[in-house]
Symmetry: none
Subunit: 279 residues, 2 copies
């Protein structure tokens, strides 16, 4: 993200000040406050994921309304800020279609959340809608059983939560002749963890279970077996967000706008058995 912001700041002759929110809503708020008091007129932000209450009372809605704050990826319209987001609805739709066309007759979707505190994860909300619509368009069942909601206690990492939850789910699937044969994971990181656990449970990927991820993580690029993922260009997103923020701060752009970047599916061939066997 920094690279894109730096590029635009250089182009327009601005300096860049950096701060990290450490995944804390209050820290994010404090850092914005500090930046504004230092004289920043334009801020590009990758917002931390808010829970319902935080989003409802979001400081971005009420405070710093004269500062051009543009949001990347994890943004909601109700924050009333210009945004650069990825088209995760289409990404979820396309991934589900890809599995359906690879003859997956039952497709599950993996999500996560923290018990008793609903976090609003923009990308997952959009992808899930795409998943549902793709199932509908293909005439495939949309069972509530196939929505795998991983419980993530506040003290645990997402990976730890996936490792805790998946073995029991896979054991259940093995006792059911009609278990899902396609699984849309949260991202590449979850996909790799899931593939490892599936292997340990004696479920062959991709022969018995086809997996797809998202976000084209570097660590997944050489993972075997390969699986489809989406390309997301964060440098491009942040360059656009920085340019929007500069234009708003200098009065060249008045209303808020949403720039939607594509997150196209890549590594599609990984789903064909043939491609896997020749490795």
């Amino acid at each position: 993200i920094y690279a894109g912001v730096e590029q635009m700041a250089r182009k327009y002759g601005y300096h860049v000040v950096v701060a990290a929110s450490n995944y804390q809503y209050d820290t994010e708020h404090q850092e914005v406050d500090r930046m504004v008091s230092q004289g920043c007129k334009a801020i590009v932000m990758y917002p931390i994921i808010r829970n319902r209450q935080q989003l409802k009372e979001d400081y971005l809605k009420k405070e710093y309304r004269d500062i051009a704050i543009t949001l990347i990826d994890m943004a909601f319209e109700e924050q009333k800020r210009s945004q650069v987001i990825f088209d995760n609805y289409t990404a979820g739709y396309d991934m589900t279609m890809l599995l359906a066309k690879a003859k997956c007759s039952r497709i599950a979707f993996m999500d996560y959340n923290t018990p008793d505190c609903y976090y609003m994860h923009r990308s997952l909300i959009d992808r899930r809608q795409g998943y549902k619509n793709a199932l509908g368009d293909m005439g495939l069942p949309c069972n509530s059983d196939d929505y795998l909601l991983i419980q993530r206690p506040a003290a645990q990492s997402i990976t730890e939560s996936v490792i805790s939850a998946m073995p029991a789910i896979f054991e259940q699937w093995k006792n059911n002749a009609y278990f899902p044969v396609g699984l849309v994971c949260m991202d590449d990181s979850a996909a790799m963890t899931v593939i490892r656990i599936a292997n340990e449970c004696g479920i062959k990927v991709p022969e018995e279970l086809k997996i797809v991820g998202f976000d084209n993580l570097k660590s997944a690029a050489s993972f075997i077996p390969a699986f489809p993922t989406t390309e997301v260009n964060f440098a491009r997103a942040s360059a656009i967000a920085a340019e929007m923020a500069i234009k708003e701060a200098t009065g060249k752009q008045n209303n808020t706008s949403v720039y939607m970047l594509q997150a196209p599916v890549t590594r599609v061939k990984a789903l064909s058995l043939k491609a896997v066997k020749t490795r």
Copy 2:
């Protein structure tokens, strides 16, 4: 466009009423009036191209301010309506860069307009700015001669106007050792017409002149020689526009917003001579 609107109307439980403007500003106005009097609260519109005077006095600015009208593609900010548009600036920039990288040392841009009545074609205005900036960034000449403005009398189709204008331009180019070797056409339809005329004039495409189009028309998909174009997802654009209109009509969204979708370049390989020769 209809498909995307229908999808969202179904999701939110609305009916869809359809009307056509027949490329007439007055007809468009009348049809909006009819829809409003029939009780429509939300309208998704692909606006006809306005001339300067029409845009200045646009009925969309003053009338039906309590009706949620969202615009697709051919929209301007001054209409003060929510919009879903494609990033044609970047499309024009990327196409020009593509030609520059294919060793085109002089690149022309094709536009059209009606004599004595300047029409505001949003996509072409944006693409032309992208073309100019790309030439600048590559250090290529930006000659006014290379801006081909096709005169289109009101009674003529765009294709007819291209057919009328291009032979003389090509004959002129042939007498000039340094004629443009890259041409950014208005769209795929113009690109196909231009290639046909170039052939008739004895100019080889892509060996002597490289052509690019826009909008990924179905009729151009199997055209030989192939040429690069842009992907534009109108179904997605109209689904977003319909959802925006519904949210505005039901009070869930108050301010107007601009949604900008990517129009990424595709069929890039068509520009390499090697790919063409193997056909």
